[in-house]
């Protein structure tokens, strides 16, 4: 066989079960998970703390490429109150003030901590961090993930790399552990824990991506955060919030790189095809002008619809070969290497880069979809805590806010596990999960995970407001999506996988469908348009504060699989 060609995978169908007992189990060793683990070991060095990570913590999740800015930080003159006001304006008042405040209060601490762990941060002459935009900090973050992983190792946290969580273990209503599949060895890990922190990130891959073929994973959000973090809770009956608040990003077209590096870092202006800056024109009287994230995307869509597209970020003032242009490229290398390639190719040669909206994601760290939690990061399931992109109600937390949430979740888990004794896990439950996760390997023919993934992405794109319908939604289309998804899910028993790598994809596509079902229920329920592009209802185009200044939450019935909607007030407690 030629070098670089693979023989068909020869897997052994191991049925080996590995039992592990720990105090705190952290699912997902990304930003929130790594911080939570170090916090737990710092507060109680004797505690047994285990990270279950599907990839390798050195380069996993959103931070694998690195960052050039910590987006949430309080510079001199700002305080938690001013931070809250900003996020409130951005998210049209529907958010959990208690959660956002608790994040804001911790931001500066955690950033200083991560600097101590090794993150290079630029300083001004007076010793303060150099701002990037109003609330960002300029960092040299290419190695951020390995730096977090090193802190985890120094703290003597146990790490199970290459093990993907597949389901929670629930005994008498309490979460007492989780199942994990060894993605390389096919073993089933059964982890018993006195407290479980879920920090497995948000969901990409629910909608048809902007590129196909060899470009299909040139997406903004991490392609391997597939929504399992949410699906674990959804299937266990946890309460979820705001799944209608999808996150649609304004990004550098084709490579989907964040635009902050261009706009905030390099001072680029948004211009249309005629070279006209267009933000100011709309700013005069547009109702959402004070929500800059939505405003920048929506106005770009409007320019395109008016025949003045494509739109660009104009970097011509940087010139070529200048100090500023080199600085710009350095920033790109720390976070968006593909954008550096674009810039060095023909598309960048005109001194501007095209921008467009991404496909929608579900991400609680940029938007606010996720677990419904209290201020101590407890979910509605006893024994389960949530932090980072999986946690809802607190948008714009980004990396530093995820660290704060990891810290809070670790503290709460430690405090609450005091008296908890984990019961032995029922052999039946283990047997059933073993059956479920290995079933696709046993089928020689059937539906390939990739096909099911593309089917899901197509129907979500067409009926639940993807790129092809400019994110727009209406009841009739959503009802078709609602109708199709359970049928697609029921084909789980036809999924086939030729090896462990494909087996993981098979389980993940089911997780994605579970998340997609919740997304569609939420989109159907909120009968107004609050967050343009994220949630634009053609049939209810106005924002309606009298009726909808509230949360749309949901819970799946663990027996029937039916999704029940719950309305809650903004203070986080009232059930309406």
């Amino acid at each position: 066989m030629k070098v670089g060609q693979l023989a068909p995978e020869r897997y052994r169908m191991t049925t080996k079960v590995v039992n592990i007992d720990t105090d705190i189990l952290i699912i997902g060793g990304g930003a929130a998970g790594c911080y939570a683990a170090v916090e737990a070991k710092t507060l109680e060095p004797g505690v047994r703390c285990l990270i279950m990570e599907k990839a390798h913590i050195d380069r996993s999740g959103c931070l694998a490429m690195g960052l050039n800015s910590i987006n949430a930080y309080l510079h001199p003159g700002q305080d938690p109150g001013s931070y809250l006001n900003y996020v409130k304006k951005e998210f049209m008042d529907v958010l959990r003030e208690d959660l956002v405040l608790s994040i804001a209060e911790g931001l500066n601490d955690v950033v200083r901590k991560v600097e101590k762990w090794g993150l290079p941060i630029e300083k001004t002459n007076d010793g303060n961090y150099k701002p990037r935009g109003k609330r960002g900090v300029r960092v040299h973050g290419e190695r951020l993930k390995p730096i977090l992983a090193e802190a985890v190792r120094r703290s003597k946290v146990n790490v199970l790399n290459r093990v993907a969580a597949t389901n929670l273990i629930v005994s008498d209503g309490r979460v007492t552990g989780a199942f994990g599949l060894g993605v390389r060895d096919g073993q089933l890990y059964v982890v018993k824990a006195r407290g479980v922190i879920v920090a497995a990130g948000g969901a990409s891959g629910l909608y048809r991506p902007a590129n196909s073929g060899n470009g299909r994973h040139l997406i903004w959000y991490c392609p391997w955060n597939v929504g399992t973090g949410y699906a674990l809770g959804i299937r266990a009956g946890a309460e979820m919030t705001s799944f209608e608040n999808r996150f649609v990003a304004l990004r550098v077209k084709d490579v989907q790189a964040p635009t902050g590096t261009l706009a905030l870092g390099a001072g680029a202006k948004q211009i249309n095809a005629r070279g006209e800056p267009y933000l100011d024109k709309y700013y005069a009287d547009h109702p959402i002008r004070n929500s800059s994230t939505y405003f920048r995307l929506l106005t770009t869509m409007l320019e395109n619809a008016a025949g003045r597209g494509p739109c660009y970020l104009d970097l011509s003032h940087l010139g070529r070969g200048t100090k500023e242009e080199r600085q710009f490229k350095e920033d790109l290398l720390h976070m968006s290497p593909t954008a550096a390639l674009l810039w060095a190719g023909r598309k960048g040669s005109g001194g501007r880069l095209e921008i467009s909206g991404s496909e929608p994601y579900i991400v609680g760290g940029h938007g606010e979809a996720g677990y419904w939690i209290d201020v101590r990061r407890r979910t509605s399931l006893p024994g389960l805590y949530a932090a980072g992109d999986v946690a809802g109600g607190a948008p714009k937390k980004y990396a530093s806010g995820s660290w704060v949430e990891g810290r809070i979740a670790a503290r709460t888990a430690l405090e609450e596990m005091g008296s908890v004794e984990t019961p032995d896990i029922d052999a039946d439950i283990v047997e059933r999960e073993k059956e479920r996760v290995t079933a696709p390997l046993k089928r020689d023919t059937g539906i390939r995970p990739q096909d099911m993934e593309e089917r899901l992405q197509k129907l979500m794109d067409e009926y639940a407001g993807g790129l092809s319908t400019r994110y727009e939604l209406n009841e009739e289309r959503l009802l078709i999506a609602r109708d199709l998804l359970p049928g697609l899910r029921s084909h789980a028993d036809l999924l086939t996988a030729g090896g462990y790598h494909e087996l993981v994809s098979a389980l993940e596509v089911l997780d994605r469908i579970d998340v997609a079902r919740v997304v569609v229920e939420h989109l159907l329920y909120r009968k107004e348009t609050r967050w343009p592009c994220s949630q634009s209802r053609l049939d209810y185009p106005e924002r309606d504060d009298d009726r909808w200044l509230r949360f749309v939450n949901s819970m799946m019935d663990t027996k029937t699989g039916a999704i029940k909607i719950i309305e809650r007030g903004l203070n986080g407690n009232d059930r309406l």
Binding site: M1, V3, G4, Q5, L6, A7, K54, A55, H56, D58, R59, G61, A64, M65, E115, K116, W117, G118, L119, P120, H140, E142, R143, P146, I147, E150, R162, V183, R184, N211, S212, G213, N214, G215, R216, H217, L218, I219, C222, P223, W224, D254, V255, K329, E330, L333, H334, P337, T338, A340, L341, L342, W343, A344, G345, R346, K347, S349, H501, V504
Partner: protein
């Protein structure tokens, strides 16, 4: 999209798990029967450069897929060593530009 140059790759000596295989966040890199690294399937690459930076002999490079860059596009190599990361961008005209970027602070605590 990554390309592994098999004339440069040394299979990480005899290491059972190759460096690129160890690091890929999508678990995309595996080995063929001769122990050579293979990306499966290439379409799933996120272009995160984790493998590019970790390869000890700089055998892996990154470019944009043809679908996006139809002309001779730019390519990129990188190497993460000690507290610095060394980058080389080769632009569409074949000109190289090098960057040495601080990646980890000294005096970590």
């Amino acid at each position: 999209m990554v390309t592994i140059d098999y004339n440069v790759c040394n299979r990480c000596g005899d290491a059972k798990e190759k460096r690129c295989e160890r690091i890929c966040p999508g678990d995309l890199i595996t080995q063929d029967e001769g122990g050579w690294p293979v990306v499966r399937p290439l379409e799933d690459c996120w272009a995160c450069t984790s493998c590019v930076k970790d390869c000890p002999v700089a055998a892996i490079s990154l470019r944009l897929p043809f679908q996006i860059e139809q002309d001779a596009g730019a390519s990129l190599k990188a190497s993460a060593r000690g507290d610095k990361t060394f980058w080389t961008i080769t632009d569409r005209k074949g000109e190289k530009e090098e960057f040495t970027l601080e990646a980890v602070r000294k005096n970590v605590s």
